[in-house]
């Protein structure tokens, strides 16, 4: 490790981040030339991302001492503090690895004439990346907030890059507003955290001793603020609006990377900056997380827009991660460090996995969008024949996000379940009763995720094309394929060598909980608690599966005569078989709609039996809109109308105000 960037990781990272910004600036030289911006700068950006990941990994070695750096910027008495420790290292690694894939894909993705000019887009894109990296590295409240809001701002501009479309503007507005509210609450959280001594560096906060009341306030503010960014229920509403509105690489970054910064923030504040809190912190967090997960997946199942579907699925995954964090906090409050470490590891690894497969899927939808110009599931289908590459790589992502062995999604869910199963040791009967239900919720969510993903993949790529023009769809370009393949490879590798991910997480858990889940012996085993309790080997599973399949294949080939006829499928006795006979997206989601009816606000339009042109329409709404947000908006409007009474244009009345103000204030003095 004498190699220079690893000897001085922080300066190296700063340089790389600066390189991102420079690349963004360079884009403005010839903002209209896609060749220059996309084909030239974005691949470089991807290289930088790889560099970031490489340096970050070095921070995950066992026995790595946190590095601190102070830049001569920022407030006069609060210069920018940066710190690279295991936690930030882990999230930087996530950022770098997934970011590289996305950048490569984006290099092939961006075209001219789509809203903002490529150069500007490139600038916002790289500022977005850089700000996320800074969020993770920040070691004082000011720099953190600065990077945090810059992140929100740049992503806002990326979301609204096609600002001519009304609902994209709306999505952008909601997004920025929620982001701002969340940021304010985080800011106040820091305001509470410094605990009397006015130094706002994280180091000072670690040292500060808070009264229980202030600690509770700070935690709730943090949970709300970071939850608003992560998309926790009920402050999730911006997410399904903003993610579909953005260009696909941006959706991938927001879903895959930006949401993770919220997880990072919550971990940093609740487990690093603050001391161990009361058990209800963990419980509340866990319950909110679980409900969010269930909520997200149920809504994902009934979506008809492929990107909205993925957005809701992001809500689900975030919910699972937060639930794991909550479990970790819970265990921590009972000083069960090993359990805390296990839950935390599950959270971290799931965050990493989600970054990989969610980016992969969003990018795939991007390719589909470019190939077909369709986002509506009802107008897609059968693309596996026209874009085999995307289909194949998307399949990996689909299986991974569905949590199927031997891919990575399963690993983290497995760890999460193991963590939930270890809770009966908690010395608190009430929690003992609740947590198994949590395990049940996780199981249900995971199973529903499978349902959702079958719908996603099946409706887009399988079956017959639902529209004629889909047959002209073309496969993605080389750069896009590389990007997708990179992420898919990540999904497979982590699935097959879970121990690697576990080791990476271990250094974080050691730093935050003081414990680490034990190695499962060799590299292809994980047995977090003990081999007797549970063990899993993705590699052997894959090997076994492939082996059996191969053997069966060979045997069949040996004994089977191998005659295969290609014929039109059976048309069930009709005269012909049209694509419209397949399930629509709505149709596929119908069971969920029936079973989870209370979740939704459904408006149906059922045609009359004697209708000449029968038309069936269904709209499914999120209840939170009417339950929470509509009333708030209405109240603000009413108040806005109310205050207007104060200003009716009568000069005499205005003078009266001054007069009364004078009198009232005088009353105070005498």
């Amino acid at each position: 490790m004498t190699y220079l960037p690893f000897a001085y990781p922080l300066p190296a990272l700063i340089t790389l981040i600066a390189a991102w910004l420079v690349l963004g600036m360079l884009g403005l030289l010839q903002p209209q030339r896609v060749g220059w911006v996309a084909r030239m700068l974005f691949p470089l950006g991807a290289l930088v991302a790889l560099g970031v990941a490489a340096v970050a990994v070095s921070a995950l070695r066992a026995g790595f001492t946190p590095q601190v750096l102070v830049l001569p910027l920022g407030l006069p008495d609060l210069p920018f503090h940066l710190r690279l420790d295991a936690l930030s290292g882990f999230f930087l690694m996530l950022l770098g690895i997934a970011g590289a894939g996305i950048s490569i894909f984006a290099a092939g993705y961006f075209r001219r004439g789509e809203g903002t000019s490529p150069g500007l887009l490139g600038l916002q894109y790289h500022v977005f990346l850089a700000s996320m990296a800074l969020v993770v590295l920040a070691d004082d409240a000011y720099l953190f907030m600065l990077a945090w809001e810059t992140m929100a701002l740049s992503s806002y501009f990326l979301v609204t890059s096609q600002h001519r479309i009304a609902e994209i503007r709306r999505a952008g507005f909601i997004y920025l507003l929620m982001a701002h509210i969340g940021a304010l609450s985080i800011l106040l959280c820091f305001g509470a955290l410094h605990g009397g001594n006015w130094t706002m560096t994280f180091d000072a906060m670690r040292g500060a001793s808070l009264s229980p009341a202030w600690a509770d306030v700070a935690f709730c503010l943090a949970l709300f603020g970071f939850g608003a960014k992560a998309g926790l229920f009920p402050v999730h509403i911006w997410l399904p609006e903003a993610h579909p509105a953005a260009p696909s690489p941006v959706s991938a970054m927001m879903s895959g990377l930006m949401l993770k910064t919220a997880i990072y923030g919550l971990l940093r504040v609740s487990m690093d900056l603050m001391h161990t809190g009361p058990w209800w912190w963990g419980l509340v967090t866990m319950l909110i997380g679980l409900f969010t997960a269930l909520f997200g997946v149920v809504f994902a199942a009934v979506q008809t827009d492929m990107k909205r579907l993925l957005a809701y699925s992001s809500i689900e995954n975030i919910g699972l991660i937060i639930a794991a964090v909550g479990l970790a906090l819970l265990a921590r409050s009972f000083d069960m460090n090993l359990l805390a470490a296990l839950a935390l590891a599950a959270a971290l690894i799931h965050a990493f996995n989600h970054a990989l497969f969610k980016s992969l899927l969003f990018l795939a939808t991007g390719s589909v969008l470019h190939a077909t110009g369709e986002r509506n599931l009802g107008k897609l289908g059968g693309l596996i024949r026209y874009m085999p590459w995307v289909a194949m790589l998307a399949l990996v992502g689909t299986l991974a996000i569905a949590g199927l062995p031997p891919l990575n999604g399963f690993v983290s869910e497995w760890l999460l379940l193991q963590a939930f199963l270890s809770t009966p040791a908690i010395p608190h009967s009430f929690i003992n009763m609740i947590v198994p239900l949590g395990a049940a919720a996780v199981a249900l969510t995971a199973a529903l995720a499978g349902y959702v993903m079958v719908k996603f993949y099946g409706v887009i790529f399988l079956g017959q094309p639902r529209e004629a023009q889909l047959e002209r769809a073309h496969d993605a370009g080389v750069l896009e394929r590389i990007g997708l393949a990179w992420l898919a490879l990540g999904c497979i590798l982590i699935g097959v060598f879970p121990q690697v991910a576990l080791d990476a997480a271990a250094s974080v858990t050691r730093a935050l909980t003081g414990a680490a889940v034990q190695r499962g012996g060799t590299i292809w085993w994980i047995a977090p608690v003990s081999p007797a309790q549970a063990s899993y080997s993705g590699l052997w599973l894959l090997a076994g599966l492939l082996g059996v399949v191969a053997v069966v294949f060979v045997i069949v080939r040996l004994f089977y005569h191998g005659r295969v006829r290609r014929v039109p499928p059976w048309d069930c006795g009709y005269r012909w078989l049209t694509p419209r006979m397949q399930d629509t997206a709505e149709g596929f989601g119908q069971p969920i709609r029936r079973i989870f009816g209370p979740f939704f606000r459904i408006e149906r339009e059922v045609p009359a039996p004697d209708d000449a042109q029968p038309h069936y329409a269904i709209r499914i709404e999120d209840r939170t809109w009417r339950a929470i947000y509509a009333p708030i908006t209405a109240t603000v409007r009413r108040l806005a109308d109310a205050v207007a009474v104060l200003q009716r244009g009568r000069l005499a009345v205005y003078l009266l105000y001054s007069f009364l103000t004078l009198i009232v204030l005088l009353m105070f003095v005498i």
Partner: protein
């Protein structure tokens, strides 16, 4: 210091006069009469200033008195009169709804003002400290008048009355402000009246009347 009681009594008389005039202005409907009252107020003001100057041997108050006389008794009223004539509204009558209430409110204000002025009078070292309460009352009454009036001109007159109150307060509480300040104030006052004058014409040509009920276009509707 020794204090000729007679002068003080004179001062108090003048102060009472100022207060009376303020009430009169509050109730006065005719604009020409208002201007006359304003001039009278100015006269009393300068007289009182002169009196203070004599009794307290404050040389610079002589200038102040002269200034007041020139400005408030002669120049401003004259300008206003000319304006009224030019605008042809000298004889106008401004409708005032129930004056009695207005006067009652005025009375309340006077009480409030006197109460407020107590500690200050206690502190002040001038021969005229008791008059401060009256000065404050004059100010508040002028304020009330501005609020109650509906015509541009009368509002201006109200502001000028307010200025008079302020001058009286200054002289009675502190033997007047430093000269430079007094000059500055006077200058501002003069310019202000000119500006008002200009405005009257703009308003007239835009709204062809000086009633302020036109002035309700800018509002939160």
């Amino acid at each position: 210091m020794h204090m000729p009681s007679l002068a003080t009594q004179f001062l108090h008389v003048l102060a009472a006069g100022l207060l009376m005039i303020s009430f009169a202005m509050l109730a006065q409907r005719r604009i020409r009469r208002l201007i006359v009252l304003l001039a009278w107020q100015g006269a009393m003001l300068s007289a009182s200033t002169l009196l203070v100057a004599i009794t307290a041997h404050q040389s610079h108050l002589y200038y102040s008195a002269a200034l007041t006389l020139a400005l408030k008794v002669i120049v401003l009223p004259w300008i206003l009169m000319r304006l009224m004539k030019r605008l042809g509204i000298a004889g106008d009558i401004e409708p005032l709804v129930n004056i009695s209430t207005l006067l009652l409110v005025g009375l309340a204000l006077v009480i409030f003002a006197f109460g407020l002025a107590q500690p200050i009078s206690a502190l002040a070292t001038t021969v005229t400290r008791q008059a401060l309460g009256i000065a404050l009352a004059v100010i508040l009454l002028a304020f009330l008048m501005i609020i109650a009036r509906r015509k541009a001109v009368t509002q201006v007159i109200g502001i000028l009355a307010l200025e008079n109150g302020l001058f009286f307060a200054a002289t009675s509480a502190t033997y007047g402000m430093p000269m430079v300040v007094e000059l500055g104030i006077a200058l501002d006052l003069l310019v202000g009246v000119f500006v008002f004058g200009i405005f009257f014409f703009h308003i007239r040509e835009q709204f062809d009347s000086l009633d302020l009920h036109h002035f309700e276009a800018l509002k939160e509707d």
